[in-house]
């Protein structure tokens, strides 16, 4: 099973990559020991969004389905967590609320995905239908300010946002600050490794084959629609996980984290990082979130202009993504220095080219 951690669908293999991975993993738990608690909380906040980026990377980079609906499922699970946590009361029930809200997002993804995938929608239309659904949810939630909009005791509150839910809690212990940070690190490691195994498994190969040529994959006897739906549900479920964690982190969610320009953010992170690889997405999204947060303190508009410019620059200059490009360049340079023109480099180059088509 662990053999699947490495394979043709993921970059980064061998001793050097895994020793870097372990170094980072060993360094991560030490961070709260010397950083102040505000920084640790901020750090945990960046990590929340990584799931959404990894989900989009799976759908877009591996499955070839460009979904603009990450914030739709983010919102469904985010509001879902709020409603459930308020209705079920705090305490350990919040863990159940987290799980249920992610399931809720996955069910929604299953329904929307069924109609789109079985209808044969792909390419551009897949993007704009998912974006339309996202915007409609944001408009809908935006006009729920009145007291008549409530689910049990949970008021939706329109643009002012929903609040009053408990954060994740076990017994009497609130998972906040550095505890939340450790939970996030653990979740990210689990999700990252699980996705690596998924894309290198037989299922992952079918997903990639479908991206390359759906007709060919179908001729080989696979019902590609089922694999696409599975990819869409997993990818959207990860967006849901981000949403539920976000609500729990701030005990607050508003429609503006669903509509524009929020809906564009996952696209920017993944496009900039390099959609065809999980590791590149992980690293790139983190860097972008860090940069974005730093600039947002001064001006949110300026930060968003920069995000737009990055997206434009990425598609014009490096359609494969900047982080992936730089990473590949470094890896090629390193291995090229060790054994010139070695097979590994050629294999990587071949993989890159086949994605281009």
């Amino acid at each position: 099973m662990f053999k699947l951690l490495e394979g043709p669908q993921t970059l980064g293999r061998g001793k050097i990559f895994w020793s870097c991975f372990l170094t980072v993993l060993a360094g991560a738990p030490a961070y709260p020991l010397f950083a102040d608690s505000y920084d640790v909380g901020n750090f945990a906040y960046f990590l929340i969004w990584i799931f959404m980026a990894l989900g989009l990377c799976l759908m877009w980079g591996y499955g070839g389905m460009l979904s603009f609906g990450q914030t739709l499922f983010f919102g469904i699970a985010g509001y879902g967590y709020g409603v459930l946590a308020i209705n079920m009361g705090g305490g350990t029930a919040t863990i159940a609320a987290l799980a249920l809200s992610v399931v809720l997002a996955m069910i929604a993804a299953g329904i929307l995905g069924y109609f789109m995938i079985w209808g044969g929608i792909n390419g551009i239309f897949f993007g704009i239908v998912t974006l339309s659904a996202t915007l409609v949810l944001a408009f809908f939630l935006g006009q729920t300010a009145g007291p008549e909009w409530h689910i049990g005791p949970a008021r939706l509150n329109g643009f002012n946002g929903m609040k009053g839910m408990d954060p994740l809690t076990v017994g009497d212990f609130y998972i906040e600050g550095s505890a939340l940070y450790y939970v996030m690190i653990a979740l990210i490691v689990i999700v990252y490794l699980a996705l690596r195994m998924l894309v290198n498994s037989g299922i992952g190969n079918v997903i990639v084959a479908t991206r390359e040529n759906p007709q060919r994959a179908e001729m080989l006897g696979y019902d590609v629609r089922k694999y696409q739906l599975l990819t869409f549900v997993i990818g959207s479920g990860l967006a849901g996980l981000s949403g539920a964690l976000y609500t729990s982190w701030g005990q607050f969610i508003t429609p503006s984290s669903i509509g524009l320009p929020a809906a564009a953010m996952p696209i920017v992170w993944v496009a900039f990082s390099g959609r065809s690889d999980l590791t590149a997405t992980l690293v790139g999204s983190f860097l972008l979130l860090f940069g974005f947060q730093t600039i947002t303190v001064y001006s949110q508009q300026a930060a968003l202009v920069l995000m737009g410019a990055l997206l434009l620059a990425t598609v014009m200059l490096a359609p494969q993504g900047f982080v992936l490009g730089i990473g590949k360049f470094a890896a090629d340079w390193w291995s090229g220095r060790r054994r010139r023109g070695a097979g590994a480099v050629m294999m990587e180059a071949g993989r890159l080219r086949s994605e281009e088509s």
Partner: protein
């Protein structure tokens, strides 16, 4: 009785005009180049701002609206030349590039002009039929929507440019081999598309609050109309708008705007399950 009937027609005309005016530009660009212009809403916003700016300077409303549409058209040609042109072979990347543009424009506008601009009121004028009063301007909008459809029909079916444009739409390489300057056709079509977006903004500018993010109000309607219309936009857009306007009108009347919008979206999702290529695919089959 006739007053009720007219009231129904009025509500239909209102929604129909909104759908056609917001979708026409997007549909032309999609039909010609297979590109969805994600900055469509920003061209609408551009049209609205130019209109209001000119009216505040003392230009008559109608003149300001025409100038605004032309401005949006020229900016569109510029954008085509600088950005969109590179992406005709990569339609998904064109989506991302124009979305990047849209982010840059919206947020820069927020930075530069701030969130509120003094608007201009809806032109006065109303008339009464039976016990109901109706705003004249809403009917003017309906007239404009019909005029846009008629204008597009004339341009694409009756002029030399239209023949070459349709040839390019069917088979760009062949049209090029026959001597059509496809690059220029694309640029002009993109300009027409963004000009129509500007017109939409110009026409709706008097009826709504001007904010830099106002484009978002139009994009859902324009997206779903294009999706339901299908690949052959000259054939599909108008029937799609009629169909969606019927649904929207029925729901708006009894449940309000937001349920109308949700209902429209649900209808679209159900329809793509059976007609993924949109209404135009059915019409094309019928025509054969």
């Amino acid at each position: 009785m006739s007053a009720e009937l007219f009231s129904l027609f009025y509500q239909f005309a209102d929604v129909f005009a909104f759908l056609i005016l917001s979708a026409a530009g997007l549909a032309i660009v999609f039909g010609m180049m297979g590109v969805i212009n994600m900055a469509h809403g920003e061209f609408i916003m551009c049209g609205a701002y130019v209109t209001v700016g000119l009216v505040n300077l003392g230009v008559p409303l109608a003149v300001a609206q025409i100038l605004a549409a032309l401005t949006a058209g020229f900016i569109g040609i510029l954008v085509e030349f600088l950005v969109v042109r590179r992406f005709y072979k990569r339609p998904l990347d064109s989506l991302l590039a124009t979305w990047g543009l849209s982010l840059i424009v919206t947020q820069s506008m927020l930075l530069i002009v701030g969130s509120a601009v003094r608007g201009i009121g809806t032109p006065e004028g109303s008339f009464a039929i039976g016990g109901y009063t109706f705003s004249t301007y809403r009917l003017v909008l309906f007239g404009c929507a019909v005029a846009v459809l008629a204008g597009l029909y004339t341009i694409f079916m009756k002029t030399r440019f239209g023949v070459i444009a349709r040839a390019t739409m069917q088979n760009a390489a062949m049209a090029k081999a026959l001597g059509a300057r496809t690059g220029r056709i694309y640029a002009i079509s993109f300009g027409i598309g963004t000009g129509l977006a500007g017109l939409c903004g110009a026409l709706y500018a008097p009826t709504m609050t001007l904010i830099p993010t106002m484009g978002a109000t139009f994009v859902v309607e324009s997206f779903v109309t294009v999706v339901i219309g299908g690949a052959n936009v000259l054939l599909g857009t108008a029937p799609a708008a009629v169909f969606l306007a019927m649904i929207r009108m029925a729901l708006n009347a009894s449940y309000g705007q937001i349920i109308g919008q949700i209902g429209m979206l649900v209808a679209v999702i159900l329809i793509i399950r059976v007609l993924p290529e949109g209404l135009s695919s059915v019409l094309v089959r019928r025509g054969r």
